[in-house]
């Protein structure tokens, strides 16, 4: 069920396995372009990327990928409506200034959207806060509160609520713990990471 390519992070592998071949894809926060390269090589996709970090953009461009240095909070506005079959936002939602507005933009520029994020309601996170009384530093959220880029922590249930408020249909969802896919049962407790496929 998960794409066999072990080099990809599990959430990216789940996305790669479910993007229809030949699609036009925008990968927002594309990092070093691992997912884009996979989609272009394996699924003949026309993949474009957006990335804030110039050093990562340079790595993407020097490997032949089309990546624009830009800020998802601002630069998505220039893409036409439904310019892409899929807009992908992997592990970036929780760093956005306004995640709700980013979600609107994803669903505007893409016919479908994939969103992945670390689940703040995972039992480890809950336990760290409950018993430690401090902002959790866990395997999934390894950076201290004062230097993390994650300014809008979100849980699986929060995300479902936001999707409903935005009128987005959840087409599919995948959950991960310890790099392995797990079932949807009690995902808000058990999942370290979640991937949602949305449409509107």
């Amino acid at each position: 069920m998960i794409h066999p390519n072990v080099k990809l992070r599990p959430d990216l592998a789940a996305i790669a396995a479910h993007v229809a071949p030949g699609s036009r894809v925008l990968d927002i926060g594309c990092g070093d372009g691992a997912l884009m390269a996979e989609l272009e090589a394996e699924s003949r996709c026309d993949a474009r990327g957006m990335e804030l970090d110039g050093a990562l953009v340079e790595r993407c461009v020097s490997r032949g990928l089309s990546v624009v240095q830009g800020d998802a909070n601002r630069d998505l506005a220039n893409y036409p409506d439904k310019a892409f079959d899929y807009a992908i936002l992997s592990q970036t939602l929780q760093t956005a200034t306004r995640p709700d507005l980013i979600l609107d933009e994803l669903l505007r520029v893409g016919r479908r959207a994939f969103v992945s994020f670390p689940n703040f309601a995972h039992w480890r996170t809950r336990a760290a806060l409950m018993f430690g009384g401090r902002m959790p530093v866990t395997r999934a959220l390894p950076v201290s509160w004062y230097e993390t880029q994650n300014i809008h922590h979100v849980t699986v249930e929060d995300f479902r609520d936001l999707a409903r408020i935005k009128g987005a249909a959840i087409e599919r969802a995948w959950f991960f713990s310890d790099e392995q896919q797990i079932g949807a049962l009690a995902a808000n407790w058990r999942a370290e990471f979640a991937v949602f496929e949305l449409s509107r």
Binding site: A55, V57, V61, R63, Q69, P80
Partner: protein, 362 residues
């Protein structure tokens, strides 16, 4: 190995002004071998005061080619793989037809030379490509005014380049850009030796005016931090201020040297015409006022690069181009590189620039 050639345009070159340039010629250098299917040609477009001596010594100054660090065997633009062409633009003064060339009546054009545009320059380059039998370039590459030509080629002849690389450039000249150019033009025209452009037979040329124009422009190519680091307030060959108007500060001495050196290799009237062409450049205006329209028909891949300390063509101008390319659905990459030296950074040592250029042009 470089090959120097002239191409004589078989037809008059139509110009945006409505005039035509008859019996025009284009001087160009080539490096590497053109593949039998002519698929490996890379056109490098030069900047305002650049020329075709991309990677071969300049015949007047004897200095190495202006982009020798970027173009050559095994370099980011690899002449072992690509047939690299660099042509002197029309209006310039290094062998292509310009104001110093002889008009059909046998006298130099001088100010009778028609006012040209960036698109006219590119029309000349396209005529050269036709003459070489190159239907589609592997890549069109340019920095500064060279980038304007690459954008103009992509917009007006979208089938002629598969890749378009634009470095430290813009799709339009801003009021500030025009203002600096006007200072330069006025410096030339205020020089009595300019003589309304008719100085080619005279003993004196408007070297003083041209040098001042170059000095003003040169400041715009650098960054304040770069100037401060290089010169600060240091004095030149003296211990204390002289209470006079010699070049007492190092930065003054440097600018004077840049100005006077420039007059040895450049024609003042060419400077007037080419700066005018740049000031007229507004790619959106040519395409109904919307820049995205300029790229509607393009299947090319684009790469846009800016430098964070370039205040002549700042990153915002590159972003403006990128947004238009996004809106047009074009395949585009964009990166703002960090560099201390302002606009001139595209000509200087920069490992990241090299990697991006190599990755994109390959």
């Amino acid at each position: 190995m470089a090959t120097s050639s002239f191409y004589h345009l078989p037809q008059p070159l139509p110009l945006d002004s409505g005039q035509a340039l008859v019996a025009a010629q284009i001087a160009y250098e080539t490096y590497g071998e053109l593949a039998p299917d002519k698929s490996n040609a890379v056109l490098v477009c030069h900047a305002l005061t650049g020329d075709q001596y991309l990677a071969s010594p300049h015949p007047i100054t004897g200095k190495p080619g202006w982009w020798e660090r970027m173009v050559g065997p095994g370099k980011p633009i690899d002449t072992g793989r690509h047939f690299v062409i660099c042509a002197n633009v029309i209006g310039s003064c290094m062998g292509s037809t310009g104001p110093a060339s002889l008009a059909p009546d046998g006298a130099p054009y001088a100010m009778r030379f028609p006012v040209i545009t960036i698109r006219d320059m590119v029309r000349g380059l396209v005529a050269l490509l036709d003459g070489l039998g190159i239907a589609q370039l592997h890549a069109a590459v340019g920095g500064s005014m060279g980038g304007m030509q690459a954008l103009s080629l992509a917009a007006n002849w979208p089938e002629r380049a598969a890749r378009v690389l634009v470095i430290a450039s813009t799709a339009r000249h801003s009021a500030q850009n025009i203002a600096f150019h006007e200072v330069g033009r006025q410096a030339i025209m205020a020089d009595p030796a300019w003589a309304k452009g008719d100085y080619y037979a005279a003993d004196a040329k408007p070297d003083n005016g041209l040098a001042v124009a170059r000095m003003a422009a040169h400041i715009t190519y650098l960054s304040e931090a770069g100037l401060t680091e290089k010169f600060g307030r240091r004095l030149q060959d003296r211990e204390a201020k002289g209470f006079g108007f010699d070049a007492e500060f190092q930065v003054e001495s440097y600018l004077r040297y840049q100005g006077s050196g420039f007059t040895r290799r450049f024609d003042a009237n060419s400077y007037l015409y080419i700066t005018r062409a740049m000031d007229y450049f507004d790619l959106a205006e040519e395409h109904g006022g919307r820049l995205a329209n300029a790229f509607g028909g393009s299947g090319a891949r684009f790469c846009i690069i800016s430098f964070d300390t370039d205040w002549l063509y700042p990153t915002a101008e590159s972003r403006h181009v990128v947004h238009a390319l996004n809106a047009a659905g074009a395949k585009v990459s964009f990166v703002e590189l960090r560099a201390p030296n302002g606009h001139d950074s595209f000509l200087l040592e920069h490992d990241q620039l090299d990697r991006v250029v190599r990755g994109f042009v390959e």
